[in-house]
Symmetry: C2
Subunit: 216 residues, 2 copies
């Protein structure tokens, strides 16, 4: 009974976070119990409350930090003094890379909005909207300069984001396609979709072999 020898608060908290992301991604937030999470971490459920006051606070923290991480990554990746095509290219690359690396956290971030209380939900949605707005701005500017040919920027932005984020649904590291190949292909598809004129972006062929329809 009582404090376990060798316990370290920072390590335990990090373990809790990691285990929570995995368990929520796999079972769902509502289906994951605190006892299950605690067992995964190697503590009793009561110990979790030393780090997170409520189950929802744990979820909110994971989701908020995911969005903050995305915003930060995009801020670092966004090229200065770049034209629309370059900006879009950077956006796509960053988006794919970020989400592939955090498949489970992305899963949680996209699928557990319903379990947040209204105020917290508002916060997360605001962050998502801000990120989406970045893409809309790129598309609008590109359309205005004639770099892109877009029917509706709002719709196009959402369609692209859904398409790109959807990579986490099917991509599995170590399988047929590499991250580089996937990224290049998504970029190529994106540029075509927005009607970018040939030559406004570098879209080297991502595959050395002939097209085939190997099943996923």
């Amino acid at each position: 009974m009582a404090r376990t020898t060798g316990s370290d608060g920072e390590k335990t908290e990090a373990t809790i976070r990691g285990a929570a992301v995995n368990l929520i991604a796999r079972f769902g937030y509502e289906a994951m119990s605190m006892r299950q999470l605690a067992a995964e971490v190697g503590v009793q459920a009561a110990a979790l409350y030393r780090y997170f006051p409520t189950k929802e606070e744990l979820l909110f923290t994971l989701m908020r930090e995911h969005m903050e991480g995305l915003a930060t990554a995009w801020e670092a990746a966004r090229p200065a003094d770049a034209d629309s095509a370059q900006l879009l290219s950077a956006y796509v690359r960053n988006h794919i890379a970020f989400h592939i690396e955090r498949r489970h956290a992305t899963h949680v971030s996209n699928m557990e909005l319903r379990s947040l209380s209204p105020e917290r939900l508002t916060q997360i949605l605001r962050m998502r909207t801000a990120y989406e707005k970045e893409l809309r701005t790129i598309l609008r500017d590109g359309a205005e300069t004639g770099t892109f040919s877009i029917d509706d920027t709002g719709l196009t932005a959402m369609a692209l984001i859904q398409m790109m984020t959807g990579v986490i649904v099917w991509f599995r590291p170590g399988e047929r396609l590499s991250i580089a190949e996937v990224t290049a292909t998504y970029l190529s598809m994106t540029m075509r979709l927005v009607g970018a004129r040939i030559g406004t972006y570098s879209a080297a062929r991502p595959f050395g072999r002939a097209k085939d329809a190997v099943a996923f």
Copy 2:
């Protein structure tokens, strides 16, 4: 106490299904309780078990029928003796129409896989795979005839499906864009994405007004 005057089994079952789809879409399957569902329907929780033996069976039924409905709709919509571009066009139109009309059921079908038992999950995944294979076949054939220019059919198929299905995330009937406009735009984007040669599909401009970046 006991049977309510005017009760009708068929009507009650239909009401249960409808209410379940709405509640699950809104709160999530795990968060929705049978008492909550029963209250929404206007019966006691025990009554639900006359129609569905378990909560999971209810979910499975909703998801299975959603997929069956989609397969049936595609079967009816698929044109006979059509080329790849026409097939893809029909696929996109059917996909968008079907999902927009069943936003909540789609939500449930996509987000609650985790709550199914392994055997049931396998069944649903098989149905999804079959539907996806239809698109892959269209893309592959189109690529072989040179109608489309595709880097990787498997990836492209998944990207398209994620993009199109994602319409339910943002589309709201009665708002800025009509279903026809949305459908036309998704079709236009799809054709570009797959590198369909101009002239191989009818992509009339879906908007009469200038492109703008009105926020969603």
